[in-house]
Each structure stands twice: as C-alpha cells, then as structure tokens.
C-alpha cells in the first residue's frame, strides 16, 4: 500500500507537470475569454474529482454495511476528506473564473449552488465522524449518511438546475461531439487524468494513515 501510494504520488506529479505544460504552453489562447480561460484546466478536473470522490464514498459505504470490513470504512473516510479538499478548490477556482467572465464572484447559479450544497453535506459527514468516539458506531452512522448524501446528489442537481442557471452547459460530458477544439480537449483530458492520480495518491496515503492510527489505538 505504501509503495503503491508512492508510485501514485510520482505519477500524479508527472501528470500535473504535463498538464501545466500543456495548459500554459501548448493550448492556445482562447478567443472569447482569452488567457483567463486557462483556469478551466484547474476547475473542470477538480470538479470531476469532487464527484468521483463522493461516488467512492457511496460505494465504500455500501460495501462497509454489507461486509463490515474496516478497509471499506477507511476508504470512505479518506475519500470524503480528500473530496472536501477538491470540492473547496472547485468552488474557489470557479469563483475566481466567474469574476472576470460573468462579472461576479458568486451567483446562486445552478451548478455553483449544487456543488456548494455538496461541500456542506460532506463537511457535515466529516463532522459526524469526528463527534462519535466509538469507531465502530462512527463507521456505521457515517456509512448511512454517506449513502443518503450520495442519493441526494442528483436531486440537489436538478432542483437547483430548475431553480436558476447561468453556468454554460457542459462541454465535454454531453451527447454529441465536444464543443471545443482538439487541443483544448486534449489538455483538459491530461489534466483530468493528472488530478485523478493526485486524488488516488491522497486517498491511498490517507487510508494508510487511518490504518496505522487504528493499530496505534489498539496497541
């Protein structure tokens, strides 16, 4: 586990370096938005990882309740924590992107709101974990909350989407061809892979730490 984590770390570093080089060196200056569009290479991958992380929490929570393996609980815990970091960055970077392009730091737009709700939900998840002393009960309750929260995500998404929207529709994850030139798309994909590796690195490292913490507690 520890060596796997180290390998993932170096791969992530390599990928991030490549992503940065492509984002600032290879990808062209976008015509409408100009230089500031390069925030996209940070914002979109972190948003993807945020959803991925909470998907992992959902699956690991179900596995924990079905099999009661500590490993599944550790994965859920680690993934939620790393997911909160990525979600926070998604919101912050999106806000910084929004100021020059939309003219406002924050607007109660659909996707901004839904990611913010996601962020608060999983902060609550971590808070709950922190407040229960007995590890087994904490794991059980957190798993239930992780499942409910994940089932809630589509509901949150559509409810705020109907409420109001300003965010441009997705460019990549939609039926039909992506609405961007291949260079920009390739840069984006490299960054998505790099940030996913970074997520995996953080999670494996955190899982390892949680395992050792548990061992220390039992010793």
């Amino acid at each position: 586990m520890a060596t796997a984590s180290r390998v993932l770390g170096w791969l992530a570093a390599l990928g991030l370096a490549g992503g940065l080089a492509m984002g600032f060196g290879v990808a062209p200056r976008e015509t409408t938005q100009g230089f500031v569009q390069r925030i996209m290479y940070l914002h979109v991958p972190t948003a993807w990882v945020a959803y991925l992380a909470f998907g992992v929490v959902f699956v690991a929570s179900i596995v924990y309740l079905a099999r009661r393996t500590d490993a599944a609980d550790r994965v859920a815990h680690a993934s939620a924590e790393v997911g909160v970091v990525f979600t926070g960055l998604t919101i912050a970077a999106g806000s910084i992107w929004g100021k020059p392009t939309w003219g406002t730091w924050w607007t109660w737009d659909a996707r901004l709101t839904s990611v913010a709700v996601l962020f608060v939900m999983y902060l609550g998840y971590l808070l709950l974990r922190g407040m229960i002393e007995e590890p087994e009960r904490g794991a059980r309750y957190a798993a239930v909350l992780g499942i409910i929260a994940a089932l809630d995500v589509p509901l949150v998404h559509f409810s705020v989407y109907w409420w109001r929207t300003l965010h441009q529709p997705p460019s990549v994850m939609k039926p039909g061809a992506p609405t961007m030139p291949p260079v920009i798309l390739a840069t984006l994909l490299v960054n998505v892979v790099a940030f996913t590796l970074l997520y995996l690195y953080f999670v494996t490292k955190r899982v390892e730490l949680l395992r050792r913490e548990q061992e220390a507690r039992l010793a």
């Binding site: 100009g34 500031v36 390069r38 970091v85 970077a93 910084i96 992107w97 953080f202 050792r212 913490e213």
Partner: protein, 44 residues
C-alpha cells in the same frame, strides 16, 4: 476582446498549490506523529 486577466489565473493556481500543499503537509505531519513512540504521543 477581453483583457488578459492573468492575475486571476495566477490566483487560482496559487490557491490550488496552497490547498493541495497544505493537505499534503497535514498528512506528512500525522505520519511523523504516528512514527514517534506511543509513550511520547500521549502529551500531544
């Protein structure tokens, strides 16, 4: 056409560096704490 606004881009990437770096350092500190013998950890 839009001005370059490179300051915003720099701010976003700097923030990413701070957040990921901060989280990484937190993990490292915890790791080191766990490596010290349990007797010394009590006083933490």
């Amino acid at each position: 056409m839009m001005p370059d606004n490179w300051g915003y881009v720099a701010a976003a990437y700097a923030l990413a560096l701070v957040m990921f770096g901060g989280y990484w350092r937190r993990l490292r500190t915890r790791e080191r704490q766990l490596r010290t013998p349990p007797s010394r950890r009590r006083g933490r």
